[in-house]
Symmetry: C2
Subunit: 460 residues, 2 copies
C-alpha cells in the first residue's frame, strides 16, 4: 500500500483566500513542469544526480547483510555511528522509526546503538562510560573524509580501541567514505580496512539509502531490502510529469506557490507518531540546506522547516498555528495502523468525566486528535496537508525518504537554484580552521583575531 499525499486543505475551497485555487496550481504546473522535470531527468541521465537510483543497488544490500552475518557470533554489544549531518540524521531516523527511541533499553539480540554526532565532551564521555570498546563496532562515516567533527570523534574512539584491544582495530572499525580520496581513505588504506563507498553523485543529505544509512540499520535488525523496495516504488510513482499523479511534485509545487504567492516562509512537518519524530530532523536538513539559497536574481530564498510532534505539540505549538500569523503550511503525518495497540482500561468508572476514554484504543485516540487538530486548523483557514502512512515499517519509511528527496529536488528546480550544493557553510568552516591554526589558513587567522579583538561587546 502506498504512502498518500492529501492536500484538499491547502485549497481555497476549504481555507478561503488563505489557500490556493486548484486552477492556479494546475496552471503553475503547466508553466513549470517541462523545464523542471526535464532538468531533473537530464541530471539523472548524465549521472550527476544519483539518489533516484540508489534503491536499485540490491548488491549493496547483499554485501551489508553478509557483513552482518559475519559478525553474528562475535558478541557485538554496541554499534557506534560516528558521523554528522547527512552521515547520521538518516541513521537516527531509521533507528527511531523501526526500532523505537527506547530500543537500547529493550531486550533483544541485536547491539545497542549510539550516535557520536556532535563534539560535545559531556555526551562523548557518557558514551565512553557506557560502551566496552572490545564489544563495540564503530562505523565512521564522512563523504569528504575531512569533516572536522567526525574525524575528531574518530580519533577519540580509535585511540580508545587501540588502548583497550589493539588486536581488534581492523575487526571493530567499519569505514564509509569516498572511494578514492580524503583523509579517511588514507587512514583506511594504511590500516588495511576495506571501505564502503559514498557515491560521488549522491550528496550527503540525499545519502540515507546508501552505505551511509544502511549499515547501522542492518546491524540493528532493520530489513534494508524492504527499505530500498519502498523507495524504489515511490520513485516509480513520482516519475510521471503529470502533476495530478505525482505526489512529490505536487507537494513541492504547493510549498513553492505558498512561498511565492502567500509569503508563507515556514514549513511545519508534524508526524502523529513518536517513531517518526526524528524524520523531521532528517527532513529539516534536506529541505533547509537544499533550498536556502541565493537565486539567479541574487534574491535570498528559502522556506524554514520546523519540527513538530503530535499530540505533544498540540499543547505547545497549535495555539500559535491557530491564532498566529498566516506564515505556515503544516504537513501532518497520519499513521493508519500502529504496530502495537493498547486499549485504555475501564478504571475510575465512577468519575463521570473520564468514561468517554474507557475502552478506546490509544491508536484511535491519537488518530482522532490528529483529525480534530486538522479540522480546527482548517476551520481557522490555516492551510494544511497530510501524508498518510499505512503503518510505520521499512517499506513505508523507504517511500517517505524518496518522497521527500524528490519533492526537495523538484522544489529546487522551481526556485531555479542549485539544490545540491551548500556554499553558505564555507565561511564558518574557514573561520574554524583559521582560529584553530590549520595549515593554509594563517592569513585568515590573523584577520579574524584582529577583528575579534577590536569588537565591542554588549552584555547584561
Amino acid at each position: 500500500m502506498s504512502v498518500l499525499f492529501r492536500f484538499e486543505n491547502v485549497l481555497s475551497e476549504n481555507v478561503g483566500d488563505k489557500g490556493l485555487d486548484y486552477n492556479l496550481i494546475l496552471k503553475a504546473a503547466q508553466e513549470n513542469m517541462q523545464r523542471c522535470h526535464l532538468a531533473l531527468l537530464k541530471k539523472r541521465q548524465n549521472k550527476t544526480l544519483g539518489f533516484f537510483d540508489a534503491p536499485k543497488n540490491t548488491q549493496l544490500c547483499d554485501k551489508i547483510n553478509t557483513l552482518v552475518k559475519k559478525y553474528k557470533d562475535k558478541n557485538i554489544k554496541n554499534f557506534v555511528v560516528i558521523g554528522i549531518g547527512g552521515s547520521s540524521l538518516g541513521n537516527i531516523t531509521i533507528n527511531d522509526a523501526i526500532n523505537g527511541k527506547l530500543y537500547n533499553e529493550k531486550k533483544k539480540n541485536t547491539p545497542n546503538i549510539y550516535f557520536a554526532d556532535n563534539v560535545d565532551p559531556e555526551k562523548l564521555s557518557d558514551i565512553l562510560e557506557i560502551i566496552n570498546p572490545s564489544e563495540t563496532l564503530f562505523n565512521v562515516i564522512t563523504k569528504s573524509g575531512s569533516t572536522a567533527e567526525t574525524m575528531s570523534n574518530f580519533m577519540l574512539f580509535y585511540n580508545t580501541l587501540e588502548k583497550a584491544c589493539p588486536d581488534k582495530i581492523k575487526e571493530n572499525i567499519i569505514i564509509t567514505t569516498d572511494r578514492e580520496k580524503g583523509n579517511l581513505k588514507i587512514i583506511a588504506d594504511k590500516l588495511g580496512i576495506d571501505t564502503f563507498e559514498v557515491p560521488d553523485n549522491i550528496g550527503g543529505r540525499f545519502s540515507v539509502l546508501t552505505a551511509v544509512g544502511l549499515i547501522s540499520a542492518a546491524f540493528t535488525g532493520v530489513d534494508i531490502n524492504a527499505l530500498m523496495k519502498g523507495a524504489e516504488d515511490m520513485e516509480k510513482k513520482c516519475s510521471t510529469d503529470d502533476i495530478e499523479k505525482n505526489p512529490a511534485y505536487m507537494a513541492a509545487l504547493i510549498h513553492y506557490l505558498f512561498y511565492i504567492e502567500k509569503n508563507v516562509n515556514i514549513n511545519v512537518l508534524m508526524p502523529y507518531s513518536e517513531s517518526l519524530g526524528s524524520l523531521s530532523d532528517w527532513f529539516r536538513q534536506l529541505w533547509a540546506e537544499s533550498l536556502g539559497k541565493i537565486d539567479k536574481n541574487k534574491k535570498n530564498v528559502g522556506i524554514t522547516p520546523a519540527k513538530s510532534l503530535g499530540v505533544i505539540d498540540q499543547h505547545s505549538q497549535v495555539q500559535l498555528y491557530i491564532e498566529g500569523p498566516y506564515d505556515k503550511l503544516i504537513t501532518f503525518i497520519e499513521v493508519g495502523k500502529f504496530r502495537k495497540n493498547i486499549v485504555i482500561p475501564e478504571v475510575f468508572s465512577e468519575v463521570e468525566g473520564l468514561s468517554y476514554l474507557s475502552g478506546l484504543s490509544f491508536g484511535k485516540l491519537l488518530t482522532v486528535e490528529k483529525k480534530s487538530t486538522e479540522l480546527a486548523l482548517t476551520e481557522a483557514n490555516r492551510p494544511n496537508a497530510t501524508l498518510f502512512v499505512p503503518e510505520v515499517n521499512e517499506y513505508n519509511l523507504g517511500q517517505l525518504f524518496m518522497f521527500f528527496e524528490i519533492m526537495t529536488a523538484f522544489a529546487g528546480e522551481l526556485f531555479e537554484i542549485d539544490a545540491f550544493d551548500q556554499p553558505g557553510v564555507e565561511s564558518g568552516k574557514i573561520a574554524t580552521y583559521a582560529i584553530l591554526g590549520k595549515k593554509g589558513f594563517e592569513n585568515e587567522g590573523v584577520k579574524i583575531k584582529k577583528m575579534l579583538k577590536n569588537k565591542k561587546t554588549r552584555e547584561i
Copy 2:
C-alpha cells in the same frame, strides 16, 4: 556567576541595515517601559501571576527532599512522569541538562526516568515492556485534572499497577494537580493519596519550578534547591526597569522590534550543548503558546520559535541561516566550561590534514565552532545574540528558566496581548470530545460527522 545576554550582533553597527540602531532600542524602551513593567508588577502584586515568586518556595523543596529520603530504601528502579506540555517539557529539560540524555543507560544509585508524554501506543508499550510496576514510581501531573492524554495514560499505568501489585497503589503513585478541583483530585481523595499542588496563579508552561518539575528532578538526584536559587537570583536581576541592566527585558524588546520593524517572524534558539538541547523544546512551548495570539487590533501576531542545536545544525540549518531570507533572529547558547572535558588524542599524525585537531580539547573545538558560526552569520549581516552560561548545572539552569519566563511575559506586554491564556486550542479539544462522544458534546458531534462526510478528499 551570572548567565549573560550578549546582543552586539543584533545592532546595525555590526549587521548594517538588517540590524537595529541602539538608539531605537533605547527609545522604544522609554516609550514602553512604564506601561509594560507596571503591568507585570501589578499582576504580580495582586497574585494573578505567580511564577516570579515560585523559586522562593523553599518549603516545597524541603517537602520534596523529605519524600525522596522516605523512598531511599524502597528499591525504586524507575520513575515515570505522566504529563504532557507544561507538565513534562520542563521535567525532560532538567533531566537532559543535569543528568544527560543517556542517563538511563549509565550506572547510578537513582532510578531510571521515563516520560509518558504522548498517547502513542508503540511508545507506551515500550515503556511497559521495560519497567516492572512494583519497582516504579508514577508521578501523574495535570493542573486541570482532566487533560485527555494524561488521564488516559494514568488509567493505563494505574491498571497495570493494580494488576501487578494492588498493595502498592498508594505507595507508587504521586499526584500533582489542582489543590481543590478536577478529576484527578477526585481520584486522589478516593484513593487516599496526598497530592502536590500546581498553584492556581502559575500557568502550565510557567510551572517548571513548582511541584510539576521538581519532584522527578529530586528523585533523579538533581539539586532542586540550587535550581530555585538560580531562578531567584535571575528574578532579582530582572526586576529593574532599566533596560540596560535587565537582560530579559532587553531580549524581549529586541525580538519585538525585529518582528515589528524588520518582519523577522522566526526566533531560533541554538544551544551549543547537547545537554541543553531539550531546553529549546521547553522554550518553544513557553514562547509560542504565550505570544501566538490575536492582538487588540484583531491582528494575528506571533514569532515562531525554531529549535536548533550546535554543532549538528551547522551541517543542516546554517546554509539557510546564511543565504536564506532575512526572517530570523538567532540566539546561541554558549557554555563556558564543560563538566567533563576530553582531549583529541594524537593519532594519525602522519595525515597532514588532521594535525590541527590533535591535542585540542573537545570543549574548545565546540566553542570555536560556535564563535566561527557567529562570525560567519555576523559577516553575512545575520542578526544574532548569545546567552552565555558559565557551566550547565542546576543553579544556571534555574537562571535560564527564569530569564526565558520573564522575557516571554514582558514580550506579551509589549505586544499588548494576554500571554497567559491559550484560547486557540479549545476548538481542537472540543472536536476531539465531539468525535469521541463525550457527554455534553453531542451537538458538535453530529455537526462534525456531517461535515467530514461531505468533504471532498484530494489525494495522490
